[in-house]
Symmetry: C2
Subunit: 206 residues, 2 copies
């Protein structure tokens, strides 16, 4: 693409660095900003810079937070002995939305993936082991996605914390609520039969 | 969506002001920026602000430009008597890409659309009439999209410049090169038969 202005070209190039934003989309977004008042671009720009520079991660669970300890970790009414291991902040938000969980979290910041050059050292696993070692954790819930990387990460953490003898669980896999059996994949359906639960307990949270 | 950080929330809110970017996509983009070095956010932010503040529109054709007169208008080898009327800079880029046009442009900045509150005064139509009035234009080519708004705009401009007695043309509508006749819509196919051209002239630009 040839641009009639260097300023425009720079803005489009920077915008198209974002994932899923190609040059054409970037041009559309930038031309939209041109039609809006000056302030909108300024507010967007300053909010991005401010966030990038001042953002803080909870020293306990590594969730994004404005204070040293995030709201969840600072809440005395939550069970700090129950820790849910998730990949990133979006998973925390998803679980929080269910209002079904009253424990703490541990945000790994990714999954072990040798293909992408992500090793255990790039994640917050050492800090998780430290939490377990300190004896404050009763149960660890693995809530990573069930991909090869997720399973590898689960297993790696499991091996690391084995000596400390705490309960480890993983979230239930099965047919989604409202889904038709006939369209479910075999692995999911197989697991949901294998890991069936007493009917009475299925009545609890509906 | 509930965020664990005000900084994050602000950034996501600003990002989701862009057209076609919802809250979820905005969160994905912002989290991506968090994983990249500080400089990337800064470069993105400053390129947007710099563009918004310093961008210039060619005083002749209203195209985006870094100088007072855009490269096309400043080029003495282009025919200034031939003016192509387009909606925005993307159309200029598309036509320039064909390398088939050696005239000037006039960028309207939109189309007349009472539904969206866009009247003739919001576009650069007065300046186009001025260009025609000055006697420097021999032919005006309408290259707006063939929607109701496009046709209205064409007609409005046509009426405005009628007294000055210059040639007005519109780009050819027809079956796209390489398209199958059977899948073409009736209006396009009908027009392409009605406005058929001598076979010899179709041999010129292949």
């Amino acid at each position: 693409m040839e641009f009639s202005s260097k300023l425009l070209e720079n803005a489009v190039n920077e915008m198209s660095q974002l994932p899923g934003i190609g040059k054409r989309t970037a041009l559309r977004l930038v031309l939209h900003l041109l039609k809006q008042p000056n302030e909108q671009s300024q507010k967007l720009a300053s909010s991005l810079v401010k966030m990038r520079e001042e953002i803080n991660f909870c020293k306990n669970c590594h969730n994004i937070s404005d204070s040293k300890l995030c709201e969840i970790c600072a809440n005395p009414r939550r069970d700090e002995q129950l820790v849910c291991v998730v990949e990133d902040i979006r998973d925390v938000m998803a679980i929080e939305n269910t209002s079904q969980y009253r424990g703490h979290y541990h945000v790994l910041g990714g999954k072990i993936s040798p293909m992408d050059g992500v090793g255990p050292g790039d994640l917050t696993i050492p800090s998780l082991v430290e939490r377990v070692k300190s004896g404050k954790v009763r149960e660890l819930i693995f809530a990573l996605s069930s991909t090869m990387e997720g399973d590898t990460t689960n297993f790696y953490i499991y091996k690391q914390i084995e000596p400390y003898n705490i309960a480890t669980t993983t979230i239930a896999r099965g047919i989604a609520v409202g889904d038709e059996l006939e369209y479910a994949d075999e692995v999911t359906l197989g697991r949901s039969i294998l890991h069936r639960i007493p009917f009475e307990s299925s009545l609890k949270n509906t």
